[in-house]
Point group: C2
Chain length 465, copies 2
Amino acid sequence: MSTEPVIPNEPQGVSILTRVPGPASEALRARHQHFQDARTIHLYQDARKSLGSFIVDADGNTLLDVYGHIAAVPIGYNHPALLSAWKGGAFDWAAGFRPALGIMPPPEWVDIVEAISKVAPVGLPRFVTVTTGSEAVENAFKAAFIAFMRRRRGGASWSEDDARLSMINAQPGVNELKILSFEGAFHGRSLGALSATRSKAIHKLDVPAFAWPVVPFPANKFPLNEHVHDNSALEASCLQAVTDALDADGNIAALIVEPIQGEGGDRHASPAFFRALRDLLKARGVFMIVDEVQTGAGATGTFWAHEAWGLTDPPDFVTFSKKMQLGGFFYREEHAVPETYRIFNTYLGDPLRGAQLAVILDVIAKDDLVAHTKRTGEKLLAGLLELQARYPDVLSQARGVGTHCAIDARDPATRDAIVGAVRQLGLEAGGSGDRSIRFRPPLVFASRHVGLALDLLSAAVATVR
Amino acid sequence: MSTEPVIPNEPQGVSILTRVPGPASEALRARHQHFQDARTIHLYQDARKSLGSFIVDADGNTLLDVYGHIAAVPIGYNHPALLSAWKGGAFDWAAGFRPALGIMPPPEWVDIVEAISKVAPVGLPRFVTVTTGSEAVENAFKAAFIAFMRRRRGGASWSEDDARLSMINAQPGVNELKILSFEGAFHGRSLGALSATRSKAIHKLDVPAFAWPVVPFPANKFPLNEHVHDNSALEASCLQAVTDALDADGNIAALIVEPIQGEGGDRHASPAFFRALRDLLKARGVFMIVDEVQTGAGATGTFWAHEAWGLTDPPDFVTFSKKMQLGGFFYREEHAVPETYRIFNTYLGDPLRGAQLAVILDVIAKDDLVAHTKRTGEKLLAGLLELQARYPDVLSQARGVGTHCAIDARDPATRDAIVGAVRQLGLEAGGSGDRSIRFRPPLVFASRHVGLALDLLSAAVATVR
């Protein structure tokens, strides 16, 4: 279709010459393993030869990619706009040192900030930049705690006792503050973020956590029209659980929620659930943090997934990273911290990644890639539904918003077998939760890729039935 | 001197045309402030025109820099080796996307890892890369907790109860684990790192913290030969405080310590103190984390500051960031985590910053910049001692290792006045603690810069007496 984005010279299809990973990747892993844990690496990617939605690996294999470096590739590999900006010198000013952006940023950083501001969610015009999703979440938590305590003091400043006792981690009332999160949630891995993460035990074992509460998440069953009653009863009971948690503890400063649970297994709730959640939190004076690290930057068919909910009042904080190339959070004007240096660190992001992001955002806007992704997602989901109709003994629960799709295998072992088998056929896919296959392709993923991905997946499923 | 590093075309001196920050910087700040908190910004730096140890700002002012973006500039601005690598295409492979390094790194990443391994501290051959100092510390804590719990279980795996209860932040015995840190310490600002940070209340107020203990740090008084008795008594009492803390709580998994307290006011302890501390921790089975985020990468005249201590047994973990351009920690072989995905995140660093680091490390080695910095530091310290002898009513406590130096003003207001006044004369300096002026120049800082910095500082002090 002529309106679809085209990356010149993108491979027409996959080409598998060796096992994946092949001998060249394994030789690299052996060198790598001397110094770092390289066991998790799927393959070593030829960064120059990869193009568009296709990975070329160190062995010369060409794979179609629907995993996107864990949802972190916005406009595919080596997009011509990104390369020509690089080669044309657009980033040269960033070549000579890495600045502390809160102390002495270059003037170009202000241009980048203005470019990022153009994708600010409605109602959240201001933002802090950091480097990763975990740091985004940690700093949004801090901003929420600071705003909560300021309100609790009636806008007054802290006392001398507060200041003195904070130094021994004992400021009165503060250690009781909590973040409420959902079962299955993933919000990062540093100690604060990890205390709100509820995805898998392997992420949390042996690491001290704050005694923060958790409530069930209303993972909808699909197809929706066959589960209307169950889904709506589940959403009501989860809202009740949030209400009960807030009733039980007046120290919950904020709730954090992903628009679609990513690591937790692509679990979806309805826009109506999120609207009711927003209203409930607002009525209770509890801040709402929407964690868009995995869902943000267009993959769901709106730039931010929460835009599709039709909220009457915007969230308090929205976190981002992954496709955005650096981390950060947007916030409502009223949550600006009056005092300096409370939300601060040395780097506060990375101007080089920010400069690339500005080019990426320009491509997304000019090529209308968010609307394109919405259309592509409809085709992908239709294909997944067809696939599960063909293999009802293996596949179920096809679901998605935009290209942010998933499908379940009948059990964890089958899921792992499919992901393993399809890689050998030329499709790089990833799991989420215990039995889901997730799709996180870049925004340049188009109809031709959908067809190829579905063909490869179908062939892999046939081998594991 | 012919053996000193020379950056061709580096300015011969400072040149101040406007107030600093001038009207161009203030106009940028006004634009910037619409979207981010720009109040902390000293000036907007012309990233292309800055060279070597000299900043050129948006108003065309040329300042000598001894602050180095809070100690984060390793080889000065726009070092020719860095620019020629950039222009020569050495980083082009990194231009087209930002990878998840634990999933599909490019082959070039293995070269970078090998380059970093050449500066691994003795006894800590393996390392994890992340993006910032806070993430470095958070992940070192996690690695320490994991190793501690593995040992406590006698090497056995966790139980099903452990796994189940970890999901509600209640794994038996784990939330009691603690990190011991020192008064005045700065280890970062995310919730775990911040629980060990003890620098200033403004960093900690209103943010929940783990109930971790703190012990006094034996900040030596200078000159050392006039305070031998006091310093040695203070170090003994601080070691006793560590002993008492370990006696009082069997759940302390690790102690974290900076070789020189940075944010806390450039507070120094002796090598003998650190040797005794290491022995004490080893005897108790408590891990030692040396936080070299601010001291690492050569500024103290050894590549890692802790190398100067003469430890008989290396630390367990050593964190880094700032001059290293990305974050991470080195660890002893025996602390490798048997299971995958426990110390993990999406980016695991940044290959582009890593590629620049490899060039930087090459320059440091070829130009012998660590030895050079040791020599330069002796000149700088001698000059500071001379300065305090000239202005004994204003300055005291000149101290330093390498060029990682500081001097105290008589009170906080005088310190702020000096730092403010000297910027108007053309020296970008920063404070640490409540009354110290800190020196964090790049490793290319040389005799000619020392003389100029001291002249400017002297002139500024004269104006505030």
